[in-house]
Symmetry: C2
C-alpha cells in the first residue's frame, strides 16, 4: 500500500496445500503452452476469435443464466447485500452487453508488434524494441462475472493466456462463462487452455497462482484493500497493484467556487462505490466562509454525509446536510459510499502534506484559477493522475480514450493509472546484424 | 527465475530483527523526504550536482584508497579469489575513471518531464502522461564499489533517492564513496539523505530494505543467481530481476560458417564472466560435420573447455580443444568462465525447445542466411534480446546507445533488457480541465 507508514517484519506464512500447488502448476503449464500459439496469431485471427467468443456467449445465454441462478441462490442464503447480489446478476440483457463489449475489444488496435523505439548502431546493427505479449496473466478478483469475460477478451486481444480466479461467490457463473469462451477457442482451432478458471481449491488456489513464478508472468488483483494487500505480500510473481483510492479535492483560495462545487459533487456523488470517487475535500481557509455553506448545501442535496473537521463544524447549521464530527481514521478511509471527509487547511503546503500523508497515490484534484498553484500541485503531488479543474471521476480507461480498462494501477512499476491493452504487453529487443562481434 | 519448472509452496521465513527494521525505516524515510526535493530539480541543477559529485570523488581519492585497502586486507584474510580482489580494487586511476563516468551521466538527456503520450479528449480535457522519478530506489549488489557510484549517479540524474546495499566485502570502500557523494550534496545545498548506504545490519538490513513497501518504490538486485532468487522471494517492494544469462547461439543449417565461428567465439570468449556471454552452442545436424571441427579448433585456440553432447564427441579428436562429455546440469549452468556446452540438434524446432527449456530469457542468437528461419527465431524465442547474425555480447546499455546501464532486466514487467535512465522513472498523468464533470 502506498501509505504504509513503515517497514514491517515478514511474518511466517502457512504452507500451501501441495495438491493445490500441483493442480495450479498443471493448469498454468497448459496455459503457458497455449500462450505460445496466441503470441503468433495475427490481429485478424485474434479479432475473429473475439467475435467467436461473443457469439458463443450469446449462444450460451440459457446456461449462463442457469449457472448464475445457482450463485444468486447461494448468495441469498449467505445473506449477501442487495448491491452485491445485483453486481452478481446476469440476465439476457447483461449477457448481450458483455458480448458487445467483447466485440468492442476486437475493434481496438493490436498493441502486439508495435515498434516502441529503434535505431541503427554505429556498427550497422539494427535494433528495435517491439511489443510482445506477457505470456500468462493471472487475474484475482471478487464476485464480478463480467470481469471474467472482460479480462479474457483483453488478454486474448493482447496475445496472452489468462488464469482467472474470480472468487467462490461467482463460481458457477464463471464456470459457464469460461466454458463458452473455450468453446469459441476450440471452434477456431486454438488451444482451449489459453483461458482457465481457478475458482476451485479455496484460498490456496489463489496463493498457488501468486507463487507460480516462471509459469505466470503477471498477477493483477482487483478488489478490496484486503485482497490487494494479501496479493502484494504473498506473491512472488510480479504484481500490478490496483485500486484503493483515497482521493482528495483541494479547493484553493483562487478557485471558481461554482466550478469547485460542481467538481466536488461530481467527484463524490456521481458514483460513490468506485475507486476514482473522492473521499476528502480540503478547503483553503481564505475561502472557507464563502465556499463551505454552498458546498455543504449541495452535498446535503445529493444525500452526502459530511465527516467534518473542527473548523468545518461551525458551518454545519447552514448545511441542510448530515454533518458529523470526523472520527479518528475518517481521513484515511475509502468510504465507497455517500460519505465525505471535509477539512479546512491554512494553505497549499498544508493541503500537499495532508494528501501525502493520507492519499493512496490514485487521483488528486486541485480547483484553482492560479496558474502557479496548479503548476505546483501537479509537480508536487505524487499520484497516478493529478487533475486541475475537473472531476476525479475521469481516471478511467474508457474516459482516457483507451477503449477498455483492465484496472487502475496505483503502483509505479510498469503501469500507472488506467491500464488497457499496451499494459498487458512487454517488449523484446530484436537485433539484426551481418556478423558483428564486440571488440 | 524464468526456468523454474513448477510452482512451489511458500516456506516460512524467520522474522527480521526489529532494531534493523526500525533503522532501515528511518534511513528510508529520510531518503523519501529528500526524494521530494530531487524530483523538482531542473536538469541544469542535477547536472551541476553530478559534476560536484565527480569533483568530490577525485578530492577524496586518498580516503577512498585507504578505505579500499581495509576491504582488500579483509578480503585477502578471507582468501577471496584474485579475480574478486581485482574487482574490489580502487586506485587513483580507477577512481578517476569512476568520476569521469559520473560526468558522462551528467551529459545524458534527462528522462524526467518527457511527455510519453497525450491527447485532448472530446470534452476538452487535456491529458498528458509525463515521466517522473520513481522516488526511492534500493540497489542490492555484491562487492563492486564502482556500482555504488554508478547507481548513485543514475539515480540522482533521474531525480531519485537511492539506498545502497553493497555487501560487506566492500563496506569500507562504500562508506567513503557515499561520504564523498554526500559532501557534494551538502555543497550544493541539497539533502544528503538522498544517497544512503545500508551495508551495516547484516543480511537483515537487505531484508528490511526489500520489505519497506511504501517507503521504497523499487528494488534492483545485481549479482549472482542466489542473491537474485532471495530478493525475488522475499521482497514485497516491486523488484526488477536482473542478470542470469544462460544464453545460446544456434547455428542453423543455412549459416555462414565463418561468420558463425566468429560469433560463437566472441559470444563465449570475449568476456566470459558477464551475463551476456553465451553458455551453450546448438548446431544443426546438417552442418555438424562441416562446422564442428572448425569451431572446436577456434574454441580450443581461445582456451575454451567444451562440454559436449554425445553427437559432438566424435569430432573431439580434431579439436585441439579440451572436450569433456557433458554432465547433468551442464546445459542449465551459467559458467561465468571459458566453458561452453555444445549440442547437435536435428532442426530449428529442437533448438527452440532446448532454448525454451534451458534458457533464462536473456539473450538468444541465431546464425542463418535463411530469412524464414531468422523470422521464426525472433518471433518464437521468448527473451529480452533476440539476435540474428551478431554476438550475444551486444546486450548492453552502452552498446545499445543508452550511455549507461543500471542492469539488464530478465523479467517482463516494467523493463526488459538493458536498463538506463528512463527505466528509473515512472509516469504521472496530468489532466487539465476547465470545470469538466462526468455525466
Amino acid at each position: 500500500m502506498a501509505d504504509t507508514p513503515a517497514a514491517r517484519p515478514v511474518e511466517p506464512v502457512a504452507p500451501i496445500d501441495p495438491a493445490v500447488v500441483a493442480h495450479v502448476a498443471q493448469v498454468a503449464t497448459a496455459a503457458r503452452t497455449a500462450s505460445r500459439g496466441l503470441a503468433l496469431l495475427t490481429r485478424a485471427r485474434k479479432d475473429e476469435l473475439l467475435h467467436a467468443v461473443a457469439d458463443a456467449l450469446v449462444a450460451a445465454t440459457p446456461d449462463i443464466v442457469a449457472g448464475n441462478a445457482e450463485d444468486l441462490a447461494r448468495g441469498r442464503e449467505r445473506g449477501l447485500a442487495a448491491g452485491l447480489l445485483d453486481r452478481l446478476l446476469l440476465d439476457e440483457q447483461r449477457i448481450a452487453a458483455i458480448a458487445a463489449a467483447v466485440r468492442d475489444v476486437a475493434a481496438l488496435p493490436d498493441p502486439v508488434g508495435e515498434v516502441v523505439r529503434g535505431s541503427t548502431l554505429a556498427n550497422g546493427l539494427q535494433i528495435r524494441q517491439v511489443r510482445v505479449p506477457m505470456g500468462v496473466v493471472g487475474m484475482i478478483y471478487e464476485a464480478r462475472p463480467n470481469v471474467t469475460v472482460d479480462a479474457a477478451a483483453l488478454a486474448l486481444k493482447s496475445g496472452n493466456a489468462v488464469l482467472l480466479r474470480g472468487g467462490s461467490a461467482a463460481a458457477s457463473s464463471n464456470r459457464v462463462l469460461v466454458a463458452a469462451i473455450r468453446t469459441a477457442l476450440r471452434g477456431q482451432g486454438l488451444d482451449e487452455h489459453a483461458v482457465a478458471s481457478l475458482d476451485d481449491g479455496g484460498r490456496d488456489a489463489a496463493r498457488a497462482l501468486m507463487t507460480a513464478r516462471g509459469l505466470v508472468d503477471l498477477v493483477i488483483p482487483r478488489g478490496g484493500a484486503d485482497l490487494i494487500a494479501t496479493v502484494v505480500r504473498e506473491s512472488t510473481v510480479p504484481v500490478i497493484e490496483t485500486g484503493t483510492g483515497v482521493n482528495h479535492v483541494y479547493v484553493d483560495e483562487a478557485a471558481d467556487l461554482d466550478q469547485a462545487t460542481a467538481i466536488v459533487l461530481n467527484s463524490k456523488a456521481q458514483r460513490p462505490s468506485v475507486c476514482n470517487a473522492a473521499e476528502t475535500l480540503l478547503v483553503h481557509e481564505r475561502v472557507a466562509e464563502a465556499f463551505l455553506p454552498k458546498v455543504l448545501a449541495a452535498l446535503g442535496g445529493a444525500g452526502v454525509t459530511v465527516h467534518a473537521g473542527p473548523e468545518v463544524l461551525e458551518f454545519a447549521d447552514a448545511a441542510g446536510a448530515a454533518v458529523l464530527p470526523a472520527q479518528d481514521g475518517d481521513f484515511t478511509r475509502e468510504w465507497y459510499s455517500l460519505d465525505l471527509g471535509v477539512r479546512v487547511v491554512p494553505d497549499l503546503d498544508a493541503a500537499l502534506t495532508h494528501i501525502r500523508t493520507h492519499g493512496t497515490q490514485h487521483t488528486e484534484v486541485v480547483v484553482t484559477r492560479d496558474r502557479g498553484v496548479a503548476r505546483r500541485f501537479q509537480a508536487e503531488v505524487d499520484a497516478a493522475v493529478v487533475v486541475v479543474n475537473a472531476s476525479s471521476r475521469f481516471t478511467d480507461g474508457g474516459e482516457f480514450g483507451f477503449g477498455a480498462e483492465i484496472g487502475i494501477s496505483t503502483q509505479k512499476l510498469h503501469a500507472r493509472g488506467p491500464m488497457a491493452l499496451p499494459e498487458l504487453t512487454t517488449t523484446k529487443w530484436l537485433v539484426d546484424g551481418d556478423g558483428q562481434v564486440r571488440t
